[in-house]
């Protein structure tokens, strides 16, 4: 097992009075794929969004507990959320490229970080698109609107856009749930490539996807972390009956 990249200790989250996450603790290893599975509303996406503090944007959310990334508590008062989010990139369920050209989408992050030299930007754009395995498909239309691409291509543009700010962790919130099987396969292949360099945490509804892509799997249910282990163990020999019931399709 690789070194621990993210360490969560007793994390609870409330929406108003509703307790959405109940004292979650877990260790997430570096440069591996960790999958969160569970039925809708179980808290897996909410939990994912605590890792780059996206929940800060929602009124009425109260968080207790600690999340350490590289041994630094990201809920510490001195933490700069902007820097945190540069380090922890996020891919959303619905691909959300900006209504700008492919090039400007990828260059968005570097530009807000003050990179303005054209040659630097060109290089980052090309590298990021190659890493996201979409360079060959878009290299001739870098200056066309990203919205003119297919859904699967848009999602890989979004991945490339995240990679352009050099994150260390990639959070993926059901990145393929809106895509056709071929596009999904491409995203999964990409995840496999990216884990060589990045720590990947993926939320998925699709159990086969979790089984195919991840090294570790965590099952959430009603705000509790039921079980977390190596993916092959979760899918072949889970410790808890609840896990077995869920992966065999008996509930959820």
């Amino acid at each position: 097992m690789n070194d621990i990249k993210v360490k969560v200790k007793d994390l609870s989250l409330r929406y108003g009075t509703n307790l959405a996450l109940k004292k979650i603790s877990m260790d997430i290893p570096e440069k591996m794929v960790t999958a969160f599975i569970g039925p809708s509303g179980c808290g897996k996406s909410t939990f994912l969004r605590t890792l780059n503090r996206m929940n800060d944007l929602i009124d009425n959310v109260a968080i207790e507990g600690e999340v350490f990334i590289d041994n630094i508590n990201i809920y510490d008062k001195n933490i700069d959320v902007v820097n945190l989010r540069k380090k922890v990139g996020m891919i959303f369920q619905k691909s959300n490229p900006f209504a700008k050209s492919v090039y400007d989408n990828i260059a968005f992050g570097p530009r807000i970080n003050g990179i303005s030299h054209k040659s630097n930007l060109d290089e980052i754009v090309e590298r990021s698109l190659k890493q996201a395995a979409i360079w060959d498909e878009v290299k001739d239309r870098l200056f066309h609107s990203a919205l003119s691409l297919s859904g699967g291509q848009q999602q890989r543009i979004c991945i490339a856009r995240s990679l352009a700010v050099n994150p260390e962790i990639l959070l993926m919130d059901e990145p393929a749930s809106a895509l056709d099987p071929i596009s999904t396969a491409k995203i999964e292949e990409l995840i496999h490539e990216l884990k060589k360099e990045y720590t990947i945490i993926i939320v998925t509804h699709n159990m086969q996807q979790a089984a195919r892509t991840s090294d570790l799997t965590a099952l959430f249910y009603l705000g509790d972390l039921i079980e977390m282990n190596k993916t092959e163990i979760i899918f072949s020999n889970p410790a808890k009956k609840q896990t077995e019931d869920y992966i065999s399709g008996r509930f959820g």
């Binding site: 944007l57 989010r85 968005f108 979004c158 995240s162």
Partner: protein, 297 residues
């Protein structure tokens, strides 16, 4: 009753309402064009009024309206856009401040325009202007009287709520996804607003503000006491000058004329010019919206 008959009745009623609207618009345009077009010529557009306003042109009124509209836009648009950004992006919906601002904007929007005129007279001229005079020119009357600046600012107050509401709506059309995408890349809130939200809503912002401004360009009541004059022999060359305006000119021509037969053609032609100006502003808004939509697709 038979369903079919009901349908026919509803269709007839809606059709008649549409026809009434079309009839009104066509009538206004026909009357104005038939009455105004024959009197419209270069001299009318480029000359000062002559012979007790019964002859000559409306050049100073055109310039006055244009200058007032520009000053009004310069004052109202940035202020309105900034307020709208605050309401849409920063204000907590439930906070007392946001509720107070919203209430103020709504109230401002329903205040009759003549009240704005009175407010302008009392506040800008009676208070701000008077104090400026006693501070800067030792009491000599310069700012404490009606002028184009006070008229434009009064007009800006009138259009401000419309600007705020339309800009806020435009900003809110940007989906949450886009903001989250930007924030997740490590953009600050202000970077997100500047690089994602504002560029995405620029067509809505422009059309909203242009429509608000064109609405103001034709108003008369707010400038009655704050800067418009019956006749001026020169163009305004400083902010403390009074000015002629198209709307006010029409009002004067139709109510204060000593020779109705002589002034009626001028009245019609002035109306046509005013309509043309406001329609042009609207057309600009429509074209801008169309072009920007096309570009972002």
């Amino acid at each position: 009753m038979n369903r079919n008959v009901k349908d026919i009745i509803v269709e007839s009623i809606t059709g008649i309402c549409v026809l009434v609207i079309i009839f009104i618009i066509v009538s206004i345009l026909t009357i104005t064009i038939v009455g105004g077009w024959p009197n419209l010529n270069w001299a009318f557009l480029s000359e000062f009024p002559k012979d007790g306003m019964t002859k000559g042109g409306i050049f100073p009124a055109i310039v006055g309206t244009a200058v007032m509209t520009i000053i009004m836009a310069v004052a109202a648009v940035p202020f309105g856009v900034i307020t709208a950004i605050y309401l849409a992006e920063y204000a907590n919906e439930k906070s007392v401040i946001a509720k107070t601002i919203r209430f103020a904007v709504k109230t401002l929007a329903v205040v009759p325009s003549i009240i704005f005129g009175l407010f302008g007279l009392g506040f800008f001229i009676g208070f701000v202007g008077k104090n400026m005079d006693s501070l800067f020119s030792g009491g000599e009357l310069r700012w404490g009287q009606p002028n184009i600046l006070w008229a434009s600012l009064t007009m800006a107050l009138l259009t401000l709520p419309v600007v705020i509401v339309s800009v806020e709506e435009a900003i809110r059309t940007i989906p949450r996804d886009m903001r989250e995408a930007s924030l997740a890349l490590g953009a600050t809130k202000w970077q997100t607003i500047r690089k994602v939200v504002l560029p995405g809503s620029v067509s809505g912002i422009l059309t909203g503000t242009i429509l608000a401004v064109s609405r103001g360009a034709g108003e008369v009541a707010p400038i009655l006491f704050t800067g418009a004059v019956y006749f001026s022999s020169h163009l305004p060359h400083s902010l403390s000058d009074q000015f002629m305006s198209l709307g006010y000119h029409i009002y004067i021509m139709s109510t204060q004329s000593s020779n109705v037969d002589a002034t009626q053609p001028i009245q019609f032609a002035t109306t046509l010019v005013l309509l043309f100006l406001t329609f042009s502003l609207n057309a600009v808004a429509v074209i801008l919206r169309y072009r920007i939509r096309k570009r972002t697709k």
